[in-house]
């Protein structure tokens, strides 16, 4: 890529230009893996691939910005920067020069969650490469979800597992951070380990949940549920209509008038 900048003529401009269709005036040129296509300017990169004629197999999942299948890197003319985005979320721009990175190999530790602790030695045991982080911040700059990746890696190094979990929460595990990391970390795999430790061992368990499970196991709701199951339609409808609604603004500890089915 660096040669493209050294070249007096940017590579985008040496491509053959198509004769544009007279019917559409909203087409712009983009370069998919170096090849020029004219696509409508309102499309996302993903839809631009399809418009250009690709049948996507890899690099396409939820089409809604959450599954992380369509990590994409691109450059723009007159800029030294590498840009990143999710193909399903990023709108095309004239002369963008792009490639999808639908898969990038990453280290992942295999572990037994019950044996993990929320501390630095645990994380370092499974991911010793954490120590190689040189604080270059490339990961943060390359996150399409705008997560300060390096901050959670620093938190992990300090053993602040909860903080790492909290910062990394919106991660879609697209893997661009890992593809760009000079220390060869797979940040997103470290992050999910932090989140699972936090969910399982740091956040207190919900006591009311355990109470409810015990109530169910004691058979407390069998009779009332069986009565509902055998009720005729008219009865069921009236029970449904008359059920007491917890007001939207009610306090958490709100209690209904009718308690016999609790």
């Amino acid at each position: 890529m660096s040669t493209a900048q050294a070249d007096p003529v940017p590579i985008q401009q040496v491509q053959a230009e198509q004769i544009e269709s007279a019917e559409r005036t909203d087409l712009i040129p983009i370069f998919i893996m170096g090849k020029r296509y004219s696509v409508p300017s309102t499309l996302t990169i993903q839809k631009a691939f399809e418009y250009a004629g690709y049948q996507l197999i890899r690099g396409c999942g939820c089409r809604g910005g959450i599954c992380g299948a369509c990590a994409t890197v691109y450059r723009m003319p007159d800029s030294q920067k590498i840009y990143v985005g999710l193909a399903c979320q990023t709108v095309v721009q004239p002369n963008m020069y792009l490639a999808m990175v639908p898969f990038f190999p990453a280290n992942r530790a295999t572990y037994d969650l019950s044996e993990l602790k929320a501390d630095a030695p645990t994380l370092l045991k499974y991911y010793p490469e954490l120590l190689k982080c040189m604080g270059c911040n490339t990961c943060t700059k390359s996150c399409p979800m705008d997560i300060p990746v390096m901050e959670y890696i620093s938190a992990a190094l300090r053993g602040d597992v909860e903080k790492a979990a909290e910062i990394s929460f919106p991660c879609v595990m697209c893997g661009i951070c890992a593809s760009r990391c000079p220390a060869e970390l797979a940040q997103y795999n470290i992050a999910i380990m932090c989140r699972r430790i936090t969910g399982a061992h740091v956040q207190p368990r919900a006591k009311h949940l355990q109470d409810m499970i015990e109530r169910i196991e004691s058979g407390r709701y069998e009779e009332s549920l069986n009565r509902l199951m055998s009720a005729d339609l008219a009865t069921l409808r009236s029970l449904y209509v008359e059920r007491e609604m917890e007001p939207h603004t009610a306090d958490e500890m709100w209690e209904p008038q009718e308690k016999q089915f609790l």
Partner: protein, 559 residues
């Protein structure tokens, strides 16, 4: 970027009525909900399922005579992708105890529990492990966990009412009783649910709930559940193998008709191969990518109803498959976000739906089908829709998200809906200050293959879990009961399949005779078609490009 001037002008009308609407909400005054009879009329007049020609009668198979969406019927009334006479049944490529078809939430839950029964497991999935609708579920997961105000009794009533009292009572009972156990399981696996300092779980209302029982993890509840289950699966890599980009296209049986594996298709090399298994769990999810009645969809790329087709050919009937769920709030602007789901949690948190004049026209927590029918009515019969810029004849209504910060405090939208907040910010729209333009979008397959509470079906060795199954939601699912459905019935099907597989002796001779029989039935019914199914991937190819695909025929590597 951002809203164009004409929309900004219309938004002023929303802003004018907002203070009064917020005050009413704070005083506990809600827009009047429809009565059960009014609901019925609203559905019959405005819900897409009730349009003339929406449905057609099936001419073949175990549910012959049953009417369902044309697009689904097309999938059923089609030939297999593979020629049964070409398959070499002696060449088995993989052998396992339990084959799970589908790598979403239901399939992964099933795989984990089957493995815990001592079974070796293979998950075969069309895209990557976890590329599924589960990942996209935002709002939450229902469970009656707060004994001082809620119980499975009320959860049961809500589920039945939402499904118009047609749901399968046994399935509903199982789901509401298992629900708290599932939340406990996810908590132990390390899902980061939103909680108070003392561990008490945050819960909200969903449409059609009488108690606040929607548990959530930001607005990424499904993603949090999916990535956690997937991560746990990866920890058990020695017992659970995963085949990605390998959708199943047909099932296998032994000579007694016991389900015994599947034919998989390698999307990249375009070859087929066989997995022999002692039990099969079908967990392929829904079918939004069939674009019923050309609706836009919230579904992921692979949601093409493959499992319905395979199960139906095997002889398992379908229930409630006539009922399609249109999510009331799909984005219609900007164009790039079209069809994208705006979680119901936005309405649960208090945001009104308002028309072009800025007026409320429906209670925002009606069940989904009622809410969607009401939006369609507002945009058609009433004529108070908001015109979508650049899309002639298309209308939407406003989802007034800025109310949430006014009701719950500045910063709530950003904190509670981080994914949507970031997404709209990319398009230059701050949803804590400006409303979103929405319209109903194809969201969920309410029905599917018939199954029992333990996941079993009429075919031995064949189990069903999640959206591919039908019965628990009746004709209309409530928010938060889908993540619940997939985890509850995924786990149960996994247990049953695991136990069946570990106690089943050697699998006998493999056949695909059921496919031959199905083909014969198609012929006898006079269905002459060149359609093949399952669809596997939707076709979004550019017609202009296709017109230029001039290759005469396949020759070597040239196409």
């Amino acid at each position: 970027m951002g809203y164009p001037a004409e929309l900004m002008e219309l938004i002023k009308k929303v802003e004018r009525t907002r203070p009064e609407r917020v005050a009413r909400k704070k005083a506990g005054e809600e827009f009047p909900a429809l009565s059960l009879d009014e609901r019925k009329v609203r559905l019959e007049k405005y819900h897409p399922d009730y349009r003339p020609d929406a449905l057609r009668e099936l001419k073949v198979g175990p549910s012959k005579g049953y009417s369902l969406a044309q697009e689904v019927a097309d999938q059923f009334e089609a030939r297999s992708r593979v020629d049964p006479d070409k398959i070499d049944l002696n060449e088995i490529h993989y052998e396992t105890d339990v084959l799970v078809i589908g790598g979403g939430g239901a399939g992964t839950a099933a795989a984990l529990l089957a493995q815990e029964q001592g079974a070796r497991v293979i998950i075969a999935t069309k895209l990557r492990h976890g590329d599924a609708n589960t990942m996209m579920a935002e709002g939450g997961i229902q469970a009656a966990t707060k004994g001082w105000k809620d119980s499975p009794y009320y959860h049961y009533l809500d589920v039945m009412g939402g499904g118009h009292f047609e749901n399968d009572p046994e399935l509903v009972k199982t789901m509401v009783l298992e629900a708290p156990r599932v939340i406990g399981w996810l908590e132990r696996l390390g899902c980061m649910f939103n909680k108070w300092q003392d561990g008490k779980l945050f819960t909200l209302h969903g449409a059609g709930t009488c108690r606040k029982r929607m548990h959530y993890a930001g607005d990424m509840t499904g993603a949090e559940i999916m990535r956690t289950l997937r991560d746990e699966c990866r920890n058990r890599v020695k017992q659970i193998g995963v085949l990605e980009f390998s959708p199943a296209v047909e099932l296998l049986t032994d000579e007694k008709g016991v389900c015994s594996g599947a034919v998989l298709y390698n999307l990249e090399t375009e070859e087929y191969f066989l997995v022999k298994a002692k039990a099969v769990v079908m967990a392929t999810g829904g079918s939004g990518r069939l674009h019923i009645q050309k609706f836009m969809t919230t579904n992921h790329y692979g949601a093409t109803g493959d499992g319905l087709v395979m199960g139906y050919r095997l002889g398992v009937g379908v229930r409630f498959l006539h009922a399609t769920q249109y999510h009331p709030t799909g984005a219609v602007f900007p164009e790039q976000a079209e069809g994208l789901l705006i979680t119901e949690k936005v309405r649960g948190a208090g945001a009104n739906l308002v028309n072009v004049d800025g007026n409320q026209f429906v209670f925002e927590r009606e069940p989904r089908d009622i809410e969607s029918a009401s939006i369609i009515r507002e945009c058609t019969k009433i004529g108070k829709g908001v015109p979508v810029p650049g899309q002639q004849g298309k209308f939407g209504v406003w989802l007034d998200s800025p109310m949430i910060d006014l009701l719950e405090g500045e910063g709530t939208v950003e904190r509670e809906f981080p994914a949507k907040y970031i997404l709209f910010k990319r398009y230059g729209i701050d949803i804590s200050k400006l409303p979103m333009l929405i319209y109903p979008t194809l969201h969920y397959q309410n029905g599917g293959l018939a199954y029992n509470p333990d996941g079993s079906t009429t075919v031995p060795g064949f189990y069903v879990a999640g959206e591919v199954g039908g019965g628990v939601h009746g004709a209309n699912r409530l928010m938060g009961n889908s993540l619940l459905d997939i985890t509850v019935f995924g786990r149960l099907a996994g247990v049953t399949a695991g136990q069946f597989a570990t106690s089943r002796g050697d699998v006998g001779k493999i056949t695909v005779d059921h496919v031959r029989r199905y083909h014969k039935e198609l012929e006898e019914a006079g269905i002459a078609t060149d359609r093949v199914s399952p669809m596997v991937l939707p076709d979004y190819g550019n017609p202009d490009v296709k017109r230029r695909q001039w290759t005469t025929t396949y020759v070597g590597t040239i196409r």
